[in-house]
């Protein structure tokens, strides 16, 4: 007998507004019911590993080493973000950094120092796993050499609790491109997965044409998304634009995280591409360092970030599509 699967009982990555990037809960309800457990088991059979509930955080554009009027506070926002994550009641499994970890320097020694300072601050994160991709300020001047020396490869993939994570580098060629070699690698990497596999891509620049005249695009982003098009559960996380943004196209939903150094305005509002000026009265405004308290906890003086579910990702939608395909294939739950 085939069960009717409720959308919310399937597989969900829900974004949570904690103001320091984005906190994602993966499959929080899968273990909560017999139906969810059966779905997880079936996905495990199809995809090789059953998804189990976990959460992760995306941070972006820390620009360690930046100094200027848009933010005279240097790394303070980054350090606050680390403290906030360490204070979460539910400890994330993973923190993803989506590029521009450092601000570039003409002096390679100084740039290497900035990477070491980034690692020192990120090293305070009490999470089991930290992964990152470069931004153009990390890798644009030297093709990614310093980044590779400090952090390892600029593109790679790994599996975590039934989710396949893919790190894509769209900055090291100096132009906003992924490049044919990496796209060939991506296709090969994807080929071992069924189309139902949950996939999270993280990269620096948007993989779609958000604002090409602000350099908010990837020249061969269409080729990347075409390679991902058959897959029904695709989330793309990126940075670069220093503001939140969500875009859905096909089976994929793209999410940009805020920056931890300064914010850009909304280009649709007609503003020029200049950082939003620093306000000493609200030094972390627009950076996302808005510590939002859960209403019920505020009175108790608890400053834990509010857990507010927002429709940030595709899981509920695409997961449902995924399960429909499995049903069509005659797989009984």
């Amino acid at each position: 007998m085939k069960d009717v699967v409720d959308r919310r009982s399937f597989l969900k990555i829900a974004g949570t507004s904690i103001g320091i990037g984005a906190l994602f809960h993966v499959a929080p309800l899968l273990g909560a019911s017999a139906n969810g457990r059966r779905i997880a088991a079936m996905l495990g059979k199809k995809n090789g590993e059953a998804p189990t509930p976990f959460s992760f955080v995306q941070l972006s554009d820390t620009h360690v080493g930046f100094s200027g009027p848009p933010n005279p506070l240097g790394t303070q926002a980054f350090e606050k973000a680390v403290d906030l994550i360490n204070g979460l009641r539910e400890r994330p499994d993973l923190v993803l950094f989506t590029g521009d970890l450092t601000h570039d320097s003409e002096n390679p020694g100084e740039h290497a120092d900035r990477m070491r300072l980034f690692q020192k601050i990120a090293g305070h994160l009490k999470v089991p796993l930290i992964k990152s991709v470069p931004g153009e300020h990390d890798a644009g001047l030297d093709g990614g050499k310093l980044f590779r020396d400090a952090f390892g490869e600029t593109h790679y993939s790994f599996d975590h609790r039934g989710v396949h994570f893919i790190a894509l580098d769209n900055v090291s060629l100096a132009r906003p491109n992924v490049g044919p070699e990496q796209i060939a690698w991506l296709k090969k990497d994807l080929s071992r997965f069924p189309t139902t596999a949950p996939i999270v891509v993280f990269t620096h620049r948007p993989l779609f044409d958000l604002r090409p005249d602000w350099e908010w695009f990837t020249g061969d982003g269409d080729e990347v998304m075409n390679a991902l098009a058959p897959y029904e559960n695709v989330t793309v996380l990126y940075g670069h634009i220093h503001r939140e943004h969500t875009h859905t196209e096909g089976h994929a939903t793209h999410h940009a995280a805020r920056s931890l150094i300064f914010a850009f305005p909304d280009p649709e509002a007609g503003a020029p591409k200049k950082p939003i000026p620093f306000d000493p009265q609200k030094p972390f405004e627009n950076l996302g360092l808005r510590v939002v308290e859960e209403p019920g906890r505020r009175a108790a003086g608890n400053s834990s970030p509010r857990i507010e579910e927002v429709e940030l990702t595709l899981r509920e939608y695409a997961g449902t599509v995924g399960i429909q395909q499995l049903l069509k294939e005659g797989v009984s739950l």
Partner: protein, 117 residues
């Protein structure tokens, strides 16, 4: 026969002259642009809708890029090598061409305004 001679002696040279004059009319206007960190000089150029223009763009220092999708411009600018780009804008408006080859901290500010009248 007389008609053929008339054609050869009078009309043909006239046609050649007309064609040469036409060639001169169609020689595209040339605009020279220099790229250097972190600006294009001049910072604004003005084109006319339907007019074919030759852009001669040269980098003075490091590799830059020039990207303007509405005019199908997408090129790298290698130092010392002049890029010749022929464009015929079809729509009026003000467009922003950017450097899309990362060239340093102020790379994001490197823009060329293209006005099409």
């Amino acid at each position: 026969m007389k008609y053929a001679r008339f054609l050869a002696l009078v009309l043909l040279p006239a046609l050649v002259v007309t064609a040469r004059a036409g060639d001169r009319d169609e020689e595209p206007r040339t605009i020279t642009v220099t790229a250097k960190r972190f600006e294009f000089v001049p910072s604004t150029i003005t084109l006319k809708k339907g007019e074919t223009v030759k852009l001669l763009v040269t980098s003075e220092d490091v590799t830059h890029g020039l990207f303007l999708r509405p005019l199908k411009i997408d090129t790298d600018l290698t130092p010392g090598k002049t890029q010749e780009l022929t464009v015929t804008p079809q729509s009026p408006g003000t467009f922003t061409a950017i450097c899309h080859h990362f060239c340093g901290a102020q790379h994001g500010n490197m823009k060329l305004t293209v006005i099409v009248e």
